[in-house]
């Protein structure tokens, strides 16, 4: 092996190319950021103001350490190098429930207001500058702050409305699934589209009528030739503060109540006894302790009963679920309990986030972000197999591509939940249901064989007393 050369193990983050003030890269996996000389004066002023220390102390902005210039990806153009704290989970805003997007928007506005107190302003205001630490938002980008020129208008006003306010209003006032529009519009939802999708009653709310409806009309009218007029705009600090305060009130008023969605009350009506639930909890805890993962992904986590148990063993847990109601409830419960290390996120396993953006490298796909040492698939496989028609072989192979360890639950065909799912599939009544006991999914031996063929080695088998269900702990054997 040759001696390490400068530049070895250096990878520029593909999503970090917009801001001329600096860019993000990885050095042997660790996140670094180099700051350009052009931003030197702003950076010094920001640090000297004490604003950064205050924001880090209250957990609003991600802390960083200084690193030597020699660690720069391109030392010739680097003025400073910093090493921001690493986060165990990277998520995209269309994977957030309405409450998480709302909290991220409120954080952004609070930062803008607090910056204003110190004579600074936010240069950008987008959910891509925010990540979830646990379920609580934190702002990643210390380079977002600059000194405010006297009476300057707020540059990222349109960006905030497109990437925060419009999707949040669509989710809370129309349907939470509209958050998925952010997946198609990475720059934020065009306001003319947003107002066409919003209910007309939103015209009666001052904040939505102005920041979205009126704003959309102004963009349409001022598409060209208003540059000189825009350059002449002056906004006093009082008016800017009023604008940000009004945006804050508008965002705070956008709440979605998750009653009545598919899964939100699922944990309250599971199909087996309290004794079986206690046994399942005990087994899951033991299996998680045996793996001792740093990061675990709980697929189909619902409101996080088992995510909490795995988090108690010291892991950071991503609690993925398909239902916005479950994710919203989970998020609220975590915020209320102050529990850290659990991040609820939205995921449809049959259509996970693809790679997106410039060159399809800007926003990493679900698979590219897979960093868990343990996958939990509890009461999941029969939903995918019966509800969505995914062959069990494909599920086993997909899971083998996600993580080296797996805790998975097998259900017999007599299980009340399986019965209920089959009852909803009238098309299966004549075929599979007629011979449901013969389906490999419901023959434990065949189920095990399918997972062995997909490269899983069975480490532990634990029946859940009183339920007929069985928990398996498997390890990727590297064979298949």
């Amino acid at each position: 092996m040759s001696a390490p050369r400068p530049g070895q193990g250096l990878v520029r983050e593909p999503g970090s190319w917009r801001d001329p003030a600096g860019f993000v890269y990885r050095r042997d996996g660790a996140i670094h950021r180099q700051i350009a000389p052009v931003f030197a004066a702003e950076w010094e002023a920001y640090l000297a103001s004490g604003l950064h220390d205050r924001l880090v102390t209250r957990g609003a902005v991600l802390p960083f350490e200084d690193a030597p210039i020699a660690d720069a990806l391109d030392p010739a153009t680097a003025w400073r190098v910093i090493r921001p704290e690493m986060l165990p989970v990277i998520s995209w805003p269309w994977e957030w429930c309405p409450g998480q997007l709302r909290d991220a928007a409120l954080l952004t506005l609070d930062l803008a207001l607090e910056a204003l107190d110190a004579g600074f302003t936010l240069r950008d205001a987008t959910p891509y500058n925010v990540q979830l630490r646990g379920t609580r938002p934190v702002h990643l980008d210390a380079l977002s702050f600059e000194r405010r020129a006297p009476d300057a208008p707020w540059g990222p006003y349109r960006q905030f409305c497109r990437t925060f306010l419009a999707p949040l209003a669509l989710m809370t006032e129309r349907d939470p699934r509209l958050g998925l529009l952010l997946r198609s519009f990475l720059e934020g939802i065009p306001l003319d589209l947003a107002v066409r999708l919003l209910p007309r009653r939103t015209l009666l709310r001052l904040g939505l009528a102005t920041h979205l409806h009126l704003h959309a009309r102004a963009i349409g009218r001022n598409a060209d030739g208003k540059g000189a007029e825009a350059r002449a705009v002056r906004l006093s600090e009082t008016r800017l503060r009023a604008l940000l305060g009004n945006l804050r009130g508008t965002v705070a008023g956008l709440r979605w109540e998750p009653e009545g969605t598919e899964w939100a009350d699922y944990a309250d009506r599971t199909s087996y006894s309290d004794a079986a639930t206690a046994a399942k909890e005990r087994i899951v805890r033991g299996m998680a302790e045996a793996v001792a993962p740093t990061v675990a992904w709980d697929l189909g986590a619902n409101t996080g009963r088992y995510s909490a148990i795995v988090a108690e063993t010291g892991a950071h847990v991503v609690a993925w679920d398909i239902d916005p109601g479950a994710v919203e409830r989970h998020h609220r419960a975590l915020m209320a309990s102050g529990r850290e290390r659990i991040t609820p996120l939205l995921l449809d396993l049959t259509d996970p986030s693809p790679a997106l953006g410039w060159g399809l490298t800007e926003r990493a796909s679900f698979l590219e972000r897979a960093n868990a040492e343990l996958i939990l698939a509890l009461a999941l496989v029969h939903h995918l197999a019966i509800g969505r028609g995914v062959p069990v072989e494909m599920i086993a192979t997909f899971l083998a591509g996600l993580a080296p360890n797996l805790v998975i639950e097998w259900l017999p065909h007599e299980d009340p939940m399986v019965r209920r799912l089959l009852a909803g599939r009238h098309d299966m009544a004549g075929g599979i249901r007629g011979n449901v006991a013969g389906w490999p999914l419901f023959r434990e031996e065949a189920f095990r064989g399918i997972f062995a063929d997909a490269g899983w080695e069975i480490v532990e088998r634990a029946p859940i007393e009183g339920s007929g269900r069985v928990l398996y702990r498997m390890r990727r054997s590297g064979r298949a």
């Binding site: 003030a21 208008p153 009126l214 704003h215 825009a230 008016r239 305060g245």
Partner: protein, 63 residues
């Protein structure tokens, strides 16, 4: 200076309309400030002495 860092296109229409909207939503605040200024003036004019120390603090923040 702002040309160097302004990598984000703020949009002419958005800048123009934000000033209009900020003007609308700032009205109550400006109105309240004007009232308190008048109150201060009246008190000052009537009492010919410094205002009492219990006078409420004023700033232009939304409450």
């Amino acid at each position: 200076m702002d040309l160097v860092f302004a990598y984000l296109d703020p949009g002419s229409g958005s800048i123009i309309i934000q000033a209009v909207i900020a003007g609308i939503v700032a009205l109550p605040i400006l109105f309240r400030n004007r009232i308190s200024a008048v109150v201060r003036t009246l008190r000052g004019g009537r009492a010919a002495t410094p205002p009492p120390p219990s006078a409420p603090p004023t700033d232009d923040r939304p409450r």
